[in-house]
Symmetry: C3
Subunit: 154 residues, 3 copies
Amino acid sequence: MASVFETPQFEAFVKYGALSLAKMLNMSLLTGVVRMAKGSFANKEDYTSSGRLSPDELKAKLATPDPFLERIRRCHLNDMENIPPFILTGLFFVLAANPTLDSCNWHFRIFLASRILHSICYILALPQPSRLLCFTVGFVTTCSMLLRAIAAVW
Amino acid sequence: MASVFETPQFEAFVKYGALSLAKMLNMSLLTGVVRMAKGSFANKEDYTSSGRLSPDELKAKLATPDPFLERIRRCHLNDMENIPPFILTGLFFVLAANPTLDSCNWHFRIFLASRILHSICYILALPQPSRLLCFTVGFVTTCSMLLRAIAAVW
Amino acid sequence: MASVFETPQFEAFVKYGALSLAKMLNMSLLTGVVRMAKGSFANKEDYTSSGRLSPDELKAKLATPDPFLERIRRCHLNDMENIPPFILTGLFFVLAANPTLDSCNWHFRIFLASRILHSICYILALPQPSRLLCFTVGFVTTCSMLLRAIAAVW
């Protein structure tokens, strides 16, 4: 008897789930790099390690975060809103909805591509509706898997 | 030999886990709808797509987000703090703590109901302690499952 | 045939995954306690329950959140960015990468310790690079598991 974990569907789930997480973890790295480059931090102790500032300069710096950094933070938050739900949905989909390998692969690939393109649109501030379109494609993909999983156990 | 995925406990987990995710994903939709209705966005490129503003108007709009939108954002963030941990806890609970079907069903139903009521209290700004009560019920439900799972593997 | 859920690796995963979630859920409790202690809330209805304020006082309170509370909120957000991805990565690692029990235990223990120390550094505002170091150790641990999982299914 083959375990569910040895099916190609589950293998595809692990592959694309892990790649989505890797994409999301990269946002933490990017935030760190941009914080260093811009010299813009959220905590007072982060400043004193890299050069002394007067109390007034420190207060001003903390009160006005860099706009580009805020953009990256929002992009990261959008990943946090979408990628963990996608992976949990994917788990339900693979374990409960008995999907074909093609169905798994295309759901997972379209989601991952939509999130990568979403981040590119967000970070480069590309004109709308490019970002909205990327978001929608990923969101609909997750909903499609979620509805299949709910239908399977109803 | 029946796989763990064919138990009614696991089926209940998939059903209520998927419904909780659907509830959380709806917050993204609601945010989008309210942003359109209020004409309040977080990024400069989101404004230029829907009508031209002078640079000063744009700056003012970006600096003062709509209070109702901020409320929905906090409500969504509260879901993000609670719903993915609930699902991961539920997975540990079902796989490790060997719960009865009744125990599963009631934990999952109470949690889901508490989160739906929490959002209603939050969005309608109902007087406290209504929202606090809803939050606490969901939080205690998650803790109860988490403690059972920890006890089972200790 | 032993199920994957009866392996000591999976048991270690449930134990440390559940402890990480418990650590993260504690941040919600801490936020609540500090909100009460500081009398600093994010919503107008939270104030009217605990004492009447004039509209101007209320507006001022809502506009200037307590700095210590903001610090706890950022600390909680950092947990949300790192702990659910760790658990999902741990699931992929245990199910797909066929790790030894020692490898599991050490990855999980180091991650959990790094997150607890990270929160201590954050909340007490310890001088940098203490917090950066804790973050990096946990982040690298997650990446190590993620790369092993991706390599296993490639």
